[in-house]
Symmetry: D2
Subunit: 260 residues, 4 copies
């Protein structure tokens, strides 16, 4: 199910994104005899079974919803979160810069709510993401989020402190979203295959500085630090403008590659 | 070879990125008896054969270069360009938002220099990208860029005007980078499978408005327009700051999904 | 009083900004026998009389407040607002680009809540701002805000539709913040002295386009359109970063100068 | 002359901005029997005498120029520079946040090329700017720039190291653009009147952190750090978009007010 199975017909157990408008989208799983309640009435799940994704369904009060097949984007935005979650724009540039592809072996820390883990697993499957976390309750949440997205088979969840060392060897990439990344730099260097990628999301500029200085001490090259700002544009006929409010800062992303 | 073959040992014919520093990187192919000339001396290609990617080599004047395995990012940045090329940050969010994955069928127009085509093919292979272009000389350049990246097998290059119609059916995504996208909206609607994705990069806000209004006339939902700004951060110990100059605008990206 | 009188000692009737922290600042006027109530207790106004600005006072529960002399910035941020108010960053660049200085004659429309009117009057006094507004209730609010800032003497509030014409002649600048600025362009051209400045804040890009095209039809030169983004930086020791949320868009500012 | 005298008729000795287009503007002084040479022919200065500002003049090859009266903005952009110069957007927010007005007493360091000094003097005259600089050749350049703008009478240029102390007392504002502002914080506290303003432009985030921590140690309140990004919008009919290239970073501006 979930992201693994992209059949075009909705079955019992299929994931579905019920889309009402830009602001109201409901990610759920189809179960017979279940109703999903919204501000615009409820939708009887049985009515969805047998429809093609992309079809419209009406709530009991006659409002149209579109039954979309959830994408990776929908899953990471709708992750059940116990922690600060990485924004899709930042995940996207990571995936692209690292050149993630099927079969790769990636190490991640910390797992957190598993949103980034979903993205990594989506792009490397049938490869594996080894995901380190020290907080068992975060790991539990991440597990459920990965299950919902159908990606748990491609993730090894480890309850371990990555600052103590990385068990894996010859990995394609090490991806960090944690408070003391500079402590992991030597371990990452050891775990990475030659030319392998290091990536790190950091909210503060001080962590960026520390991490970059540590990367330079080891034999990392092609060190780049980026910040992405995303503006959403509001389009009304004759009245186009950026949205009044935006997320002004998510984090800085540091990239590097291991040389010998 | 190229992006298809990620062996760790450099052979004759292997692609290689010779990295000197942040600004000087040379993307080339290893050929015996060939030298690559740089501002810091030349490198004898024969010396690379048999090394692991990530190894260092010296130029004839003793300067160290790192022989990295080129990634998708390197290929799209080093594309031979005859046209304005989409920036990696914009490609990245497209790939991620569309949820591209192996086996998908994507329609693209125009091919241009083929940088975006590379990115699409990289993520959907062994799926296929059908790429429309009306300028034969652009298509020729794109072909060479796709060959170099080892991705030509996953692309059907079409010398055809997409505003006249799309031949393919039931496609997962239609991705446009051309001057009159609104003329393609009805064709895209027809070609897309239900729930399929539309994406469009546009330099001007006027094209955004026209495209969004046209998408609304047809049965597209989940219409979003984003603009991404990328800042590069310069890290010196005790002197961290954003780079003085930046690319201030590349384009707006419009996303939508087909409903019924 | 108010912005006119910058004596260093607080008297009865003096304006004061009671500063608790970055988020809690109270703009008020000192009156004997009045208390100002805050989340951190109340402050007895009588206690302020005779102190120098910049002094600390304690609330009844012993919390320190600083009694600052309000600046223009404080007044425009604390304006009683019935309308969308221009942000200080946008006012600032207007004042600077127009080169406003004492004695100038400026025409403004619409008055709105009078925040921009305050800024214009502050910099041109003893010159005059002629401010057009068609909504009497907005004008009433603006009058009170100008009074509070001590700037009403330098403003002529006019209940008139500026799209019907400008009464003044030989003015140094015309500053617009209204929905149909292009209708005012011909009137502005007539009212301005040679070389005089036109400025216009517009929330949408469509209004920018219309206004610039109209300015070009008339004999305006040095036409520039700017957008300013302001990020606030949060400084904690070892943890410096931009604020998570920011105002993503306020408006575009169009500048032009009349030639003959 | 210069910014002091804003008569509407051009005389011998008058400053003039010869405007050809957005990119080509020539700031000069009118002298009989002098020609100004441009890419579009030369202009005979004698022909300007007696014209009103805003009039058009033709070059010897028949190209129209507009003879504009230079504004503060023009002067600061056209400053003869020996040093990195503060951008107008940053000057503008400083002037506005500090609430500069006629009669104020301001301390500045370092003088540099005098661009910021021009702006400060323009808004406080007939008040005085006390400007500290340790490099005599910078001071010489600044003197010429202030003379050209007609503002030298309102500036006391001091060849002195401000980190050793500030001679002035009871000043309205201390404005710093120098490498070690934290060394000046105690002197600034002493020199400022109660409630007086501190402002500091800094290119790096590390300097921001040091300065803010130092301000907190002393009794400064209302500490704010801003960064301004300016985008220029390019307007062609039906093709409106931000400029492709922009200045991505100029500096962070730190503001604070002295309490007791």
């Amino acid at each position: 199910m979930a992201l693994r199975d992209q059949g075009d017909v909705i079955c019992e157990g299929s994931p579905v994104l019920l889309y009402l408008d830009e602001r109201r989208k409901y990610l759920t799983k189809v179960e017979k005899d279940r109703k999903i309640h919204t501000h615009k009435g409820y939708i009887d799940m049985s009515a969805l079974i047998g429809l093609e994704y992309g079809s419209k369904v009406k709530s009991n009060i006659g409002v149209d919803f579109v039954a979309l097949q959830p994408t990776l984007w929908d899953y990471v935005l709708k992750v059940v979160r116990k922690t600060q979650v990485i924004y899709p724009k930042d995940m996207a540039i990571m995936v692209f810069k690292l050149g993630l592809k099927p079969g790769m072996k990636v190490v991640e820390a910390g797992t957190g709510s598993g949103a980034l883990t979903c993205a990594l697993a989506f792009f490397v499957k049938p490869g594996i993401v080894y995901s380190y976390e020290i907080n068992p309750s975060f790991q539990e949440v991440a597990k459920r989020n990965l299950e919902r997205a159908g990606l748990l088979d491609y993730v090894v969840l480890k309850l371990k402190d990555i600052t103590q060392g990385i068990d894996e060897e010859n990995v394609d990439a090490v991806v960090l979203d944690m408070a003391t990344p500079w402590l992991v730099v030597p371990h990452a260097y050891k775990a990475l295959k030659r030319g392998g990628h290091f990536a790190r999301l950091s909210p503060t500029i001080n962590q960026v500085e520390k991490t970059v200085l540590e990367l330079r001490k080891h034999d990392f090259v092609d060190i780049k630090v980026y910040e992405l700002l995303l503006r959403e544009i509001k389009v009304e006929e004759g009245a186009v403008r950026p949205e009044m409010f935006m997320v002004g800062h998510t984090g800085y992303i540091t990239f590097a590659r291991k040389s010998l």
